[in-house]
């Protein structure tokens, strides 16, 4: 499994924890436009959960930038590199 696939699979679990009832199927192309519940508070919850899971820290400007699964994966991989 590539590193990207591993991160994606972990993100899928995290999305289930944060957006538990949201009626969307998880994929690489998912963005905040697709999930109604993905508002600014959910974003904080999402980033906190990701940070805990991967033991990384995002910067404040990334809060507004990381609004899609693909950008999250890129950012996580960059932080872990």
């Amino acid at each position: 499994m590539s590193e990207r696939t591993e991160v994606l699979s972990a993100l899928e679990d995290i999305f289930d924890d944060v957006f538990m009832d949201a009626d969307v199927s998880f994929s690489d192309s998912l963005s905040s436009d697709d999930i109604e519940e993905w508002d600014s508070l959910a974003q904080i919850r999402l980033l906190t959960t990701i940070e805990k899971h991967f033991s990384i820290q995002f910067e404040i400007e990334q809060i507004d930038q990381l609004k899609s699964v693909s950008s999250l994966v890129d950012a996580i991989l960059a932080k872990m590199a």
């Binding site: 924890d17 538990m20 904080i44 404040i60």
Partner: protein, 621 residues
């Protein structure tokens, strides 16, 4: 980092159990299994949704105290709701939470038509941190006047809610920001933020001490976790969320403990295992002088620390009990003769050392002390014992104890099972009273009949109205008595004080002493006086004095009082709850008859048969 170390880790099947709760196929025991674990904010949200679903709530909701809590804050509160609800469940409280809009403390408090006042809350939580006060942004020159104006502001908000919503507030003091401006200089300089906050906190406690409001000690909770972990600057700057996730979880525990204590849900009894808990080693194998308890040895000091804590809790009115798998003689010997033991035999109200399973023994301890099983905290180093108690008795609090005894005392304190609203004179003697009770039940076994036993106790009762000297204890008793309680009405101290001053009310507080000691203030009666009748609004009695015929004595007293006042009729109601079955038949036993027309129990004082139990009356001085 995970600091709520008294809770075990989240179970692997957490999501499955949440699903079962939603489907209505889980019971209270499986709820307890997931509830008392280190849930994070996401997991709290999932569990809350499950518990609040139609099927979940119908299975689980009963048995919790329902509390409507309104919250105002200068920070975003949305992420607080689920962890606060879950922390409430852990304390036996079902919270119905209503959030005011952002930063509306003043507006909400000043109008009966505001969102929170209209919500009909039981309490208002004013969650204001230092950034909600002027000194956070003010220049250095005006800090002193800022403290005063900030105190005026917060007391006016609290009193506004008291007037407009009719309920007391939970007001919090302030956590120190996570860093100083000029290092060591700040604390010496009264205009610096940290010095200002310390002054504010001290004066806030003074202002609240004579008010009906409750003080939430955020300051110490944040200090325990550490300011750098408590706050989260990034979330504050992006979303006005004040606390980190960890800070939020701790904050919610503190609030829930306070609300739980107000609702009488604090624990009353600490049950301790012996081998490798109160001392190191196994006394049956290592021998009396082989146990690790010596001062000056690291392992001995660790166990002594737990003993020291138990002793301090006992002095604060917490009952101590022992539950150990041991031969009783071996176990007792340590308490009787080992010179290094801090705890003595007389400190333990119920001492159980045998080879039965611990759930059975815990049940025996609760029954002997006449307290609910949900009043127990069980401390045991053995994970298997903890597991079986959690499984068989989900209402017993079982803190997680690691392998290192040096952590035991701190874990137990952090778990905060014994949250206390006040310390009355009675609290200080409570543990001894329970122990005397155990002595009385031994005497009871010897006495050939009940009347002889009661006579041998040489009981003396004393009745007083509600006075400033007893109002704290009366309030405490009113709010935590569950079993001997006819109507289970709860009143705040403020309401109790108003009753005391109301000439149309008859308020009685009853103390009982006997030859084993003073039981303190043990019963409360509240009546409405009307020209022709006396109506019992509340009557409750501490379980410590049940089966002593004190209820008969009090009934005699009430009837005598009625007759002297020319009143022929006393009426009363029994409102059943899950816990007051004990008094189901009290009224007919005392001589009340059911009035079908009025749907109340009624007693005609002219035909009353006085019970005259062997209790003598001490006139109020």
């Amino acid at each position: 980092m995970q600091n709520r170390d008294w809770l075990p880790p989240v179970a692997d099947d957490f999501k499955t159990i949440c699903k079962q709760i939603t489907e209505g196929s889980a019971d209270r025991a499986s709820l307890a299994r997931v509830l008392h674990t280190q849930l994070d904010v996401n997991q709290c949200t999932r569990l809350m949704k499950a518990v609040c679903s139609d099927a979940g709530a119908s299975v689980i909701a009963c048995g919790f105290a329902q509390v409507k809590l309104g919250i105002v804050s200068n920070s975003t509160q949305d992420l607080l709701v689920a962890p606060l609800f879950i922390a409430g469940l852990r304390r036996g409280v079902w919270l119905n939470i209503c959030l005011a809009d952002f930063d509306q403390a003043w507006q909400e408090s000043q109008s009966v038509n505001s969102k929170l006042c209209q919500f009909g809350p039981d309490f208002i939580l004013i969650n204001q941190d230092y950034r909600g006060y002027p000194f956070a942004n003010g220049g250095v020159s005006q800090a002193k006047s800022d403290v005063r104006s900030s105190l005026d502001f917060i007391t006016q908000v609290a009193d506004g809610f008291l007037a407009n919503a009719g309920v007391p507030c939970i007001v919090q003091n302030l956590a120190l920001p996570p860093a100083n401006l000029l290092g060591n200089f700040d604390i010496r300089h009264h205009t610096a933020l940290s010095a200002t906050i310390l002054a504010f906190n001290q004066q806030l406690a003074e202002r609240l001490s004579d008010s009906p409001h409750y003080l939430l000690d955020v300051f110490s909770e944040a200090a325990h976790l550490g300011g750098t972990q408590w706050f989260d600057q990034r979330s504050w700057l992006s979303s006005r969320i004040a606390l980190s996730e960890e800070g939020t979880l701790f904050y919610c525990e503190r609030v829930a403990a306070l609300v739980g204590a107000i609702k009488g849900k604090s624990r009353k009894c600490l049950v301790l295992d012996l081998d490798n808990t109160l001392w190191g080693g196994v006394i049956g194998d290592d021998g009396l002088y082989g146990i690790a308890i010596q001062p000056g040895t690291p392992r001995g000091e660790a166990h002594l620390r737990l003993q020291q804590l138990a002793l301090e809790l006992k002095q604060a009115g917490i009952i101590l009990a022992v539950c150990s798998k041991n031969d009783e003689k071996n176990a007792l010997e340590a308490f009787q003769v080992h010179p290094d033991m801090l705890l003595k035999e007389t400190d333990i109200a119920v001492f159980v050392a045998n080879w039965q399973d611990k759930p059975t023994n815990l049940q025996f301890i609760a029954t002997t002390l006449n307290i609910g099983i949900d009043a127990l905290v069980f401390v045991d180093d053995n994970p298997a014992e903890r597991e079986i108690v959690r499984k068989m008795l989900p209402d017993v609090a079982v803190p997680e104890m690691g392998r290192d005894p040096s952590t035991y005392a701190d874990i137990l304190m952090r778990a905060n099972y014994f949250e206390s609203l006040s310390q009355t004179e009675d609290d200080l003697h409570r543990a001894d009273q329970y122990r005397a009770n155990a002595a009385r039940s031994k005497l009871q076994n010897n006495a050939t009949d009940m009347q002889e036993y009661l006579r041998s106790l040489e009981m003396v009762a004393r009745v007083e109205p509600f006075l400033s000297s007893n109002i704290v204890r009366v309030t405490q008793l009113v709010n935590k008595t569950n079993q001997f309680n006819l109507t289970t009405k709860r009143y705040t101290q403020d309401q109790i004080e108003r009753m005391a001053a109301n000439v149309d009310m008859l308020t009685l507080s009853v103390r009982l002493a006997d030859r084993f000691g003073d039981n303190g203030l043990v019963s409360v009666v509240i009546c409405h006086k009307q020209p022709m009748q006396l109506e019992i609004d509340s009557w409750l009695m501490s379980c410590r004095v049940i089966k002593r015929d004190l209820e008969h004595w009090i009934c005699d007293y009430l009837v005598e009082h009625a007759i002297t006042s020319g009143i022929n009729q006393i009426i009363a109601r029994y409102l059943p709850t899950e816990k007051n079955v004990l008094v189901e038949n009290l009224l007919p036993e005392l001589g009340f008859c059911w009035d079908e027309q009025l749907q109340v129990w009624s007693l005609d004082t002219r035909h009353y048969q006085f019970h005259r139990p062997p209790i003598s009356k001490l006139e109020a001085s």
